[in-house]
Subunit: 110 residues, 2 copies
């Protein structure tokens, strides 16, 4: 099992690429085959397959081959990992910011 840190690294590395985010955006409309995915992105099938491997390893996309057709769909687990990391950072920062506000609101010496 991957450590939490390694999982976060993989998810953010995967999301760091604009083509991979375009793949995720397309897949939020519903599952599609690899060749259908390659068409509007204007990249080779081999490039799409490489991006999909990274997305699949990071838990952002799930692919399944039936016969000769490989179909892809969103895997919400990966999105949750990124969402939680960002949410945690924001809430930690806001808590610190609010504490600072409380301190500034206190009368001198209290």
């Amino acid at each position: 099992m991957l450590s939490q840190r390694a999982t976060i690294d993989r998810v953010f590395h995967a999301l760091g690429d604009p083509t991979r985010r375009a793949i995720i955006e397309k897949l939020t409309e519903g599952p599609v085959s690899v060749s259908m995915l390659a068409k509007p992105l204007d990249i080779t099938l081999a490039a799409v397959v490489q991006h999909l491997q990274i997305l699949e390893k990071s838990g952002l996309v799930y692919t399944r081959k039936v016969g000769r057709i490989r179909t892809c769909r969103i895997e919400p687990r990966g999105l949750s990992v990124a969402e939680q990391w960002i949410g945690d950072r924001r809430s930690l920062w806001e808590r610190r910011f609010n504490r600072l506000g409380d301190l500034l609101a206190e009368p001198d010496g209290k």
Copy 2:
């Protein structure tokens, strides 16, 4: 003004690097100077400055120089951009998933 797409690209590119995420994690504890930031990360000051430039351009970090000391703090705007992109993808996907559930729950032919 940067387009929304360019802003999203910059934020996710910035978050894709583990050292830059470590900088953000450190800054959620509170503002620090650039040299204080470099110390626990075990990288050169020049490397930290480069990472900070990317983080600042993407709206994730704010830096301010007073005298010879440059201090850095979290800029929550950048985190919100990433949070919203992920949240939108997840809610679009969930809506689609729920619609599918409704369709499957319907009696045949209705």
